[in-house]
Symmetry: C2
Subunit: 123 residues, 2 copies
Amino acid sequence: MAEDQLSRVFAALADPTRRDMVARLAVGDATVGALAAPYDVSVQAVSKHIKVLTDAGLVSQTRDAQRRPCHLEAEVFDLMTKWIERYRQQAQERYERLDAVLAGVRGEEQTTHHRHRRQGAAS
Amino acid sequence: MAEDQLSRVFAALADPTRRDMVARLAVGDATVGALAAPYDVSVQAVSKHIKVLTDAGLVSQTRDAQRRPCHLEAEVFDLMTKWIERYRQQAQERYERLDAVLAGVRGEEQTTHHRHRRQGAAS
DNA sequence: GCTGTGTTCAACCAATCAGTTGAACGAAGG
DNA sequence: CCTTCGTTCAACTGATTGGTTGAACACAGC
């Protein structure tokens, strides 16, 4: 299931340190040691973070002598974006449809923000 | 700080049950009980999930008699999308730039700045 | 071959998390 | 009033997480 990977990707990016690592990897590949440098944690901890990112498919590692440079895999982002866009759009449409209903049925002065109208409208 | 909220949003969506709840809320608002129905867990557990989503800013609740309908707040999605887009794009650009470099200076070594020892093709 | 550097594995710890049950609260309705 | 329904709070549990340290592994250079 892609569901599983989606969970891993979201979970991976839920950590600020890992998000920062991704941000730095977007600029350029880096070794584990180089990635670890700015943070006040052990290299082992960073290695674990990389493992999480790798398991999520966000990062790949290759071999360069004894180093293992990390490379950002950008495609996985699309998985997230698709998921998000889908529901954001759906919610947006529903919001606009509600707007239309309110404007049509009522025809009153509803120019300001209508606060939440609870369900029941949707069939 | 937005960083903190970003962490909460990603963490909230890392759970498949919560993602499913968001998906259903995109269709229409729903009460806690209604949301809980399809899942094989207690209502209290679902209530907790809603709290997580609410703390992340993804869901808001209003009052309707003794019910508390949940409403999806779509704007928070933008926060995520912005973050993702930023780094996805950056990685993409870097990839294209590298492509250009490889095409132009085929097989030559450039010692100017980063060591683009690149994995994959270059070995 | 040894030594040094870079990285990961293993075991452990404290904190957080997703789930449970039991009780309490707020509002509607007999 | 008292009950019932929908929801949340409180306390507890087992699993996961992010961190640690110490050892092991994989190369490169002497």
